[in-house]
């Protein structure tokens, strides 16, 4: 008799669960991940597996200690893997493997677990990990490659050594900075880079190169409505508007807005990193403010600082403002 399930209402639950949400997020990143493997070869695949292993393992150890029970099931919950994938995607493609391990450890132990674990961390773990290695291994971090062949031509295991099949080359953003610094001027519109940048055949961080692949994933996030459209929308709009303004008044010294948005990590950042639930504001108004902040800081760092790319820093900066934003954007209750 007492075998009936006693439960407080509501007696049903929607289909969305953390698991499901993280699964979709992972699926949304898949086009860009696949593109990077296709473009840079099987080394990338190893990098993903290695980083995911490290992240999942630390996560598992942490949860096992914290909750004092076997969390083997959680091993497969994609929580650590989203962070892991983002780390690999934002780093240059061909790195010694230990760099990934260091980034992954910093991301999951320092940025996430020391803050109290999933749901409590203030800073986006993937970006924290990336920035730590960016500072620690700065020379490795500024070496990018343009592959001269891909796995369709060579087979999965052919691009084994670097830089035989790839030429080392600066990214569009770095190249532009250097040109301007050495007294040169840039073409007003860099039309010839638009198509390769959109498709992804340019030197850059592994998962950031193909705007197309990222936009496909971004569309999936928006269609399944697991992520808030407000943050990417506000971020990209602000970024484009400011980029246009700066370009208009400094033609020849600042890249045109289309090139700006297609190169570097702005698309990846606004769709996949700024939207991280845990480290972004809770309320709609706050999300817009956060997006605007990320977009504005990103373009300003690109133009006014010595770093070629600013999306990571800008998101981290805005992360630290989240509690403040939340406090002042609380919704008003109906009739209250």
């Amino acid at each position: 008799m007492s075998s009936f399930l006693m439960k407080l209402p509501p007696h049903q639950h929607g289909k969305y669960e953390t698991k499901y949400t993280f699964f979709i997020l992972s699926a949304a990143m898949l086009p860009a991940i696949l593109f990077s493997i296709f473009y840079y070869g099987y080394r990338m695949l190893f990098a993903y597996i290695l980083t995911m292993g490290v992240c999942s393992f630390t996560e598992w150890v942490y949860e096992s200690i914290k909750y004092k029970k076997d969390y083997l099931e959680r091993f497969l919950e994609f929580k650590g893997s989203v962070t892991a994938a983002l780390i690999v995607m934002t780093l240059p493609p061909i790195l010694p493997y230990y760099v990934y391990v260091v980034a992954a450890l910093i991301a999951s132990i320092i940025a996430k677990q020391l803050f109290g674990g999933f749901g409590r961390n203030v800073y986006n773990p993937a970006i924290t990990g990336r920035i730590a290695v960016l500072v620690g291994y700065s020379s490795l971090m500024s070496t990018f490659y343009l592959p001269t062949s891909n796995i369709l031509e060579n087979g999965l295991f052919n691009i084994t050594t670097v830089p035989i099949d790839a030429i080392s080359m600066a990214t569009t953003l770095t190249a532009a900075k250097e040109t301007v610094a050495s007294g040169g001027t840039l073409p007003i519109l860099m039309t010839d880079t638009w198509l390769p940048s959109f498709l992804g055949f340019i030197p850059g961080a592994a998962g950031e190169v193909s705007a197309l692949a990222l936009l496909i994933g971004g569309a999936l996030i928006l269609i399944t409505r697991i992520g808030a459209w407000r943050i990417p929308f506000a971020c990209l709009t602000t970024f484009l508007v400011l980029a246009t303004v700066f370009w208009y008044f400094n033609q020849g010294y600042v890249l045109d807005p289309i090139t700006q948005v297609l190169s570097g990590g702005i698309i990846l950042g606004s769709f996949f990193m700024a939207t991280d639930f845990v480290t972004s504001p809770l309320y709609s108004k706050g999300k817009i403010i956060f997006g605007i902040g990320c977009g504005a800081l990103a373009i300003m760092i690109r133009i006014f600082s010595s770093y070629p790319e600013g999306i990571g820093f800008s998101i981290l900066l805005m992360n630290s403002l989240v509690p403040l934003i939340d406090r002042y954007t609380k919704p008003r209750s109906f009739g209250g």
């Binding site: 008799m1 007492s2 075998s3 009936f4 399930l5 006693m6 439960k7 407080l8 209402p9 509501p10 007696h11 049903q12 639950h13 929607g14 969305y16 669960e17 953390t18 499901y20 949400t21 674990g117 999933f118 749901g119 409590r120 697991i226 808030a228 639930f277 845990v278 972004s280 809770l282 309320y283 709609s284 999300k287 609380k330 919704p331 008003r332 209750s333 109906f334 009739g335 209250g336």
Partner: protein, 440 residues
């Protein structure tokens, strides 16, 4: 008619299997026991007026309303003998004082209510409660609405899954409903009446719609979204009027009544019949879904037996809707006026463990009251009830949408409900105490 839109709400799977065209009647067996609790969610402490061994007829008053607080008369729903006045089981209160009646042969008739001049008295004497589920005594609503209200809204939006009992009344009792509505309109001098339909209640109700048109009663068809039927939501959607925090609908000159309640009023006024039975939906993972008239006080066990349903085949039984109903472990609890359905379910549902909030914001997006369920729950967990009150915890209509969507399976509505019922009162008492002490 023009509708105003509100934010929030969710789309639920309808699962409306029970045919609304037919209303069956549950027979009464000789010797069957009926249970009548003296307390209910809003109405407490009715005073028994019968003793063990007394012979009663259906419709006889067996407990009188007490003078204090909200309280109503309780009527026997069957002809029989008072078996006992003692502690009985209750689906929400666990145990409560109550009366047990053993049915004898049924005459099929009932003792009529004494005629009164005032509609409010009739409603009070008939023991009518808000039969949508909340159980707020209707006489209080009528009393506070007198000569104040300009609009009457009939809430016929049955947005919970499975339920079709209101629909069955709309289809089968259209004449009676309209007659009652016009009667109330005249009695209370109400300018405008709106019948709000939603979901399945818009289907097959052509007769009602035609009758409404003939009598210049407005019909509104709401979007299929849960819970547009919350009182404040309904008033805003239909009229664009906002009921301020802590106020009742009468503050914006509106009275809302549920369809089953209106039908109860019809029986009271036109047939002098107190509430001794009601239509409920029997549904869930069963084959013979139906709407059926059940005598008040019937136990779940005897209802299932009469319908040939084996409770052993199901892993949960819910009185009321899926979103707001009560799950029961004991089959001997009686069916009361506020129970709109019995759902027998057999599925893999379990009590999920709560996980850390992922801060996804979904609970905030769906809350029709514009609250931040996660923020309020966090305050409750930290013991900061003052903050929860500042964040308007008392405005929560306990619809359950927040818990339904939470990706971390947090028990948001459950905590809020608990805090509202227990912690908030204590907190207010404590702060007042502090003030009193500090003032000296």
């Amino acid at each position: 008619m023009k509708l105003y839109s509100i934010k929030g709400g969710i789309k639920l799977k309808q699962n409306k299997f029970a045919d609304a065209n037919i209303i069956n009647t549950l027979p009464v067996l000789d010797g069957e026991l009926f249970y009548y609790p003296l307390s209910n969610s809003f109405c407490n402490n009715s005073i028994p007026v019968v003793e063990k061994g007394a012979v009663v007829k259906a419709g006889d008053v067996i407990a009188k309303a007490s003078e204090t607080g909200f309280s109503i008369d309780i009527h026997s729903s069957v002809d029989g003998i008072v078996e006992d006045v003692t502690q009985i089981k209750h689906s929400k209160l666990m145990h409560t004082e109550g009366i047990i009646i053993k049915a004898s042969e049924q005459s099929g008739d009932y003792s009529k209510l004494a005629p009164t001049k005032d509609i409010v008295d009739t409603i009070k004497n008939a023991g009518i409660l808000g039969m949508g589920g909340a159980g707020f005594p209707s006489y209080v609503k009528f009393f506070s609405s007198k000569s104040k209200v300009d609009t009457l809204i009939i809430n016929a939006s049955e947005s919970e899954p499975y339920l079709t009992c209101d629909q069955s009344i709309l289809i089968n009792k259209a004449d009676e409903l309209i007659e009652t509505i016009l009667f109330i309109q005249k009695e209370l001098d109400i300018k405008r009446v709106i019948v709000a339909l939603e979901g399945n209640t818009t289907e097959q109700t052509d007769k009602l719609k035609q009758l409404a048109k003939d009598n210049s009663i407005d019909i509104a068809e709401l979007p299929r979204k849960y819970p547009y039927s919350g009182e404040k939501q309904l008033i805003y959607v239909l009229l664009g009027r906002t009921v301020k925090k802590g106020e009742l609908p009468s503050s914006v000159n509106v009275m809302i009544q549920n369809v089953s309640t209106i039908y109860g009023i019809y029986e009271a006024i036109k047939k002098s019949k107190p509430v001794i039975d009601r239509v409920i939906t029997v549904s869930g993972d069963i084959d013979n879904h139906q709407n059926i008239v059940v005598k008040m006080g019937t136990t779940v066990r005897s209802l299932l037996e009469k319908l040939n349903l084996d409770p052993e085949k199901y892993n949960r039984i819910i009185l009321g809707g899926l979103m707001t109903g009560t799950s029961i472990a004991d089959l001997d609890v009686p069916i009361l006026k506020t129970v709109s359905s019995i759902l027998l379910l057999n599925d893999k549902s379990k009590n999920h463990e709560e996980e850390a909030c992922a801060r996804c914001g979904r609970c905030i997006d769906v809350c029709v009251m514009g609250l931040s369920p996660t923020g309020i729950k966090n305050s409750i967990m930290q013991g900061d009830i003052g903050q929860a009150i500042d964040d308007d915890i008392m405005s929560c209509i306990e619809c359950g949408c927040c818990s339904y969507v939470c990706i971390s399976h947090r028990k948001l509505m459950e905590s809020i409900q608990y805090a509202k019922n227990f912690l908030v009162k204590d907190h207010i008492a404590a702060t007042e105490n502090d003030k009193a002490v500090g003032g000296k």
